[in-house]
Symmetry: C2
Subunit: 602 residues, 2 copies
Amino acid sequence: MHCSVHFLPADVRVEVPAGTLIHEAAIRAGLHDLELPCGGQGTCNECIVEVNERLVPACQTPVRADVVVRIPQTHVAGMRVVSDSNQLAGNLLKELGKLTPLYLSEKILVPPASIDEHYSDWNRLTRVLNEKYPDASISASLLVLHLLAEALREADGKATVGIREIAGGVHVLDIRAGHTEQSPLGLAIDIGTTTVVVQVVDLVSGHVLSTRTSYNMQLRRGADVISRIDYARTPERLAEMRELVLKTINTLLVEIGPKPDEIRAAFISGNTTMIHLLLGLQPKYIREAPYVPTVNPTPALTAAEVGLAIHPEAVVEFAPGVGSYVGGDITAGLLASEIPSNHDGVFLFMDIGTNGEIVIGNAEWMISCACSAGPAFEGAGIKCGMRATLGAIEQVSINGALSYKVIGDGKPAGICGSGLISLLGELFKAGAVDQSGHFSDGSHSFQVERGALTDSGEDLIITDSDIENLIRTKAAIYAACTLILDKVGLKWTEISRVYIAGGFGRYLQIPDAIMIGMLPDLPHERFTYIGNSALTGAYIALLSRQHRHKLTEIASKMTYVDLSSDPRYMDGYVKAMFLPHTDWEQFPSLHAVLENQRREQS
Amino acid sequence: MHCSVHFLPADVRVEVPAGTLIHEAAIRAGLHDLELPCGGQGTCNECIVEVNERLVPACQTPVRADVVVRIPQTHVAGMRVVSDSNQLAGNLLKELGKLTPLYLSEKILVPPASIDEHYSDWNRLTRVLNEKYPDASISASLLVLHLLAEALREADGKATVGIREIAGGVHVLDIRAGHTEQSPLGLAIDIGTTTVVVQVVDLVSGHVLSTRTSYNMQLRRGADVISRIDYARTPERLAEMRELVLKTINTLLVEIGPKPDEIRAAFISGNTTMIHLLLGLQPKYIREAPYVPTVNPTPALTAAEVGLAIHPEAVVEFAPGVGSYVGGDITAGLLASEIPSNHDGVFLFMDIGTNGEIVIGNAEWMISCACSAGPAFEGAGIKCGMRATLGAIEQVSINGALSYKVIGDGKPAGICGSGLISLLGELFKAGAVDQSGHFSDGSHSFQVERGALTDSGEDLIITDSDIENLIRTKAAIYAACTLILDKVGLKWTEISRVYIAGGFGRYLQIPDAIMIGMLPDLPHERFTYIGNSALTGAYIALLSRQHRHKLTEIASKMTYVDLSSDPRYMDGYVKAMFLPHTDWEQFPSLHAVLENQRREQS
C-alpha cells in the first residue's frame, strides 16, 4: 500500500510505501530541512513536525495513511523568512537545474577491445570521455589506472567514473565496474571566526544528508580575526591554529559519520584570515600595510594538502574574496541570495557574524566594507548566550507577560542571536530598557524566566553589560551601512531590498531588529533573512559549475572600501550607540509606534 | 689569463680561465660525452682525452695554455657513427632551440602591492604568469602557497618560479625569492627489459650532467618480457616486480647523487610491459587476446605516485607506444632519429634490445613489428658477455693476428654487443667459423686472448653455443625485416636509410654486422647507428614541448603488424640461421668479398 504525504508549507506531495518514516518521505520529496542530530534515535526533537495538529518526531513516525505534514516555520508578517535548511530544499535545487558538481559521477560504456581495435584500456576510456568532453585533455591518478583493467572487464565495459573538471581537461579520480547507484558525497563548509558548519551533500541528487555546526576550536586563541592573526605570528602557533580548525572540521565529520573515502569534493567559504589559518599561511600581512593576503582567490587544492579527513585526492575549492577583510564568505553569501542576477534596484547585503560585512550594489556594481561587529549575535560574550541550537530561546514577546520560543520546544538552555535581538527589542518597546540601554528600574540584569537555569546552573538572565555588548554590535553594523550609503550618495529609502545573513537563529524578528536600530526603518517586506548564506553559497558552488563561475564574477565586480580610515565612521558609530539611534529622524515610523505604545501604557 | 680550448672532432672552441679542468671546458663548450663515473677522482679513466698526442683524464687535467683536445671517437669508413653521448652534445641541443622542458624555471618580477592595488600575492603572481601564458588557468600546490609571501617580499618581487605546463593551464610547483641561477634537474629514463639507463639533465641549459646504466633488477625474475608477465600474475609478485625496477632506478639516482628534491621532472621511455610493471599495473592482458594493455599512452603522473625518489610533485611523463609489443621506447627512438620529419625516402628503424622492434616507413606512414631477439647483444646469455661498460671488448679485427679495442683501454673484462658482432664477423670472414656457425677446426670455443681472464676468473672465450645464440638473435631480426618489407611490397634496395638503435656499445661495426647477416647488404653510408635512441628520445622529450607533441604524432601515425601469426616469419627465420644467410643472393657484394678473401687466403 502506498500513501500520499503532502508537505506544508512547501506544498510538495510524495507517494511512499506505508510504513515509511516521515523523515524518509521528506527526503524523497526533496525536502532536507529535518536534521537528525541524534541520528534518528528520537531523543533530540530536532525533527519535530506537525501531523493532525500533533507534534511528532519525523525520524520515529511512520506514514500509515494519506497525511498532511507541516514542517514548522514561522512566518513573520510582511517578511519572507528563509531559514538555512529551507533554502536547500526543493526550490533551490530546481533553480540549479542539471547538477555539475565539483566531482561528477559519470555512467559510461567503454566498448571492449578486439583484435583489430586493440586500443589500451586507458585509450578506450579517454575516447569515451572525449565524446562527453570534446577536446578535453584527460588525466588520471595512478589509483585509477590500478582499477582500470578490472573495472572495464567486470561488467562488459559498463563503468562509473568519478571525474573533476579542470581548466582544459578532465581529471579522473575513480572508476568502478557497472553503473553504480551509490552517490559520491561532497562537503559544503563554512569556516566562521566563531562557528564552523559542515554540510554533507549527495553529489548526484544534490540532497543535503546532514548539516552540523560547532564552535571554531581556534576560539580559545582569540575571539576575533585580529587576535588570531596576532596569536599566529610564530610558525608553531600558526601550525597550532591550523590544527585547531582542522580538528574542528574533522571532528564534525566523524560525528556525521560518512566514510571519509566516499567524500570526493569540498567547497569552502570563509573569511580571508580563516582560509589562511586553515592552510597554514602566515596571516600577518593581512594586518600590515598594504594589507595584502597571500591567497585571494585561493587556487584549488587536494584534501590531502589541506588536511581534510576525506578522500585524499578530493578536490577542495574556495570561494574567492575581495580584500583582506571581505572574504569568500561574503561572495558566497551574495551567490546564495542570487542578488546580482535577479534583482533590479539597489540591494543591501549584510552578513553579521563576528565581523559584519556589508555589500551595497546592483547587477552592475558592488561595494563592500567590513566592520568589527563582535560575536554577540553568535552567543559569545553574552552571559546566557548560545548558538542557535537545541534549547536556545530564539524568539521573545512581551505582551504584558513575557513568552518565548525555544528551539526544540524543550527547556531553555540559553539565548541565541535572534532571541537576544527579540528580547532587547521587546524590553525596549515595553520601556523596561531605556534609549541608552540601561534598565529603567536601575537594576543590572533582567531575569527571563524565574527559576529557569542555564546548562551551567546559572539564572537565565540578560545583564546590562550584555545589552551594552549588543548595542556596540548593532551600532557597528548600522554605522557601516550609513557610511557606505553616504559614500555612494544613496538614501536608505532608495534601497529596495535588504538581505540579512548570519547565524542568529532560524527566525530573525525583523520588527525587533529595527526596534533596536540594527536594521533601518524600512517597510518589512524589503527584508529577507537568508540565514547562513556563506554555507548556502558553498553548497550551490559545490553543485553548479555555472555558479562557480558566477562566484568568480561576483568577486571581480566587487570593490572594497576601508571604513576604518574614514573619520565619519566613528561619528556614525557613536550616534548609533542608542536604542534605536540618537537621531529619531532615521526611524520615523518606529518613533510613531513607540510614542503610541507608551502613551497607551501610561 | 684565458686559454682557448679547441675540441676535436666536434670542432668546437671555448675560452676558459687558465686552470679550468678540461672536463669543465668541455661542458662549457656544450660537449657532454665525458662521463665521470668515479666522480672526477681520476680513478676510472672513463674521461680519457688526447692532448698533444698524450692521453690524460679530462677530470684531472687543467688547461694551462691554448690547446687542442681530441675526444676519442672511432670513425668507421663510410659510416656516420653516433654514440649515445655524442648525440646529446652541441648539435642536438642546437636543433632543439629554446628549451621548453617538462619543468620550466621562469624568472619573474611581481610588482609589490600598494594600498590602492592591494591584490593578494597569489593574484599578483597569476597576473604576471598570465602575461607569459595568456588565458592559462594557474594552479599551485599548497607548498608553493606556503613559500609565496616571503618569496615575493625578500627580493622586491624578483622571484623564480618552477612551473609545469598542463592542458589549458600552468601548474606552479615551486617559488623562490630572487633570480636564482641554480638550475632544476630532470631525468631521462630508459627502462629496458635488460638494461635501465638514468640520465640527469640540467633543465635550463639542457646539459647532461650524468648518465648511469645498470641491469634491470627484474632480470632475476625472468630474462624477457613474456617470462616477467608470467611471473607477475599475483598481486604480491606484481608488487615485487614494481619494487625491483624502482630499486634499480632509485639506486642509480643515489649513485649519481643529486639531491632528490632538485629533480623536478622525469620523462620515461620503455616497452609497454616495463611501464606496466613500473606502475604496478597487471600486465597479463598484454599476453591475452585481444592483447590490450591497460595504459598506452600513459597519462602523466607525479613522482610520488610512481615511486621515484625525487621531488614528490615532480611530473613524470611517458613516451606513448603503439601496441602491446611496440612501446614508448620505439616511438622515443624514432623521435631521436628525427626520421619522420627530415627524411624523404623510406627508412628502416631497428631497435635491438631483448626484443627487436622494427619500423619501416616515411613521413606519411609507419609500420612496426616486434620479434623476440633475446638479450645476447646486451651481453646476457653469452659466456663472456657484458654490457658496453669499462673493460668490455667493443671491437675486434683479425688481420692475420687478432687485435681488439677495450672500453677504457684497460684490461678486457668481457665482450659487449658490438664486440661480439665484430668478433663473429671477423671469425667468419677469416674462415674460422663456417656458414652454419660451427668452428671450422671442430673445436667448441675460441680463446680471444691467451691468458686473459674475465672478472670471474674464467678464460676470455667465445663458445659455439654463444655463436648459436648470436645467430638466433640476428636471424630473428633479419627475418622480421624481410617479412615486413614483403608486407609493404618493398625490396631491400628501396630502403634509403637504416637506423640501428640498441645498447651494443659505442661503435657498431657495420661491415661485421652485414658479414654475420644481421644487417642487409646495402651500401654502408645508408646505415646510421644511433645507440640508445630510446634514452635520447626521452631526453629530447624532457626538454622540448614541440617534440613531446611530435612523439604523440609518431605514435598515432604508426600501425602495428603481428608477425607471429604469419607462417612466413618462421620460414624467413630458418633461412637466416646461417652466416650470413642461406640465400647468398641477398648478400651479393658480401659474397664477392668473401670469395676474393678466401681465394687469397688459400
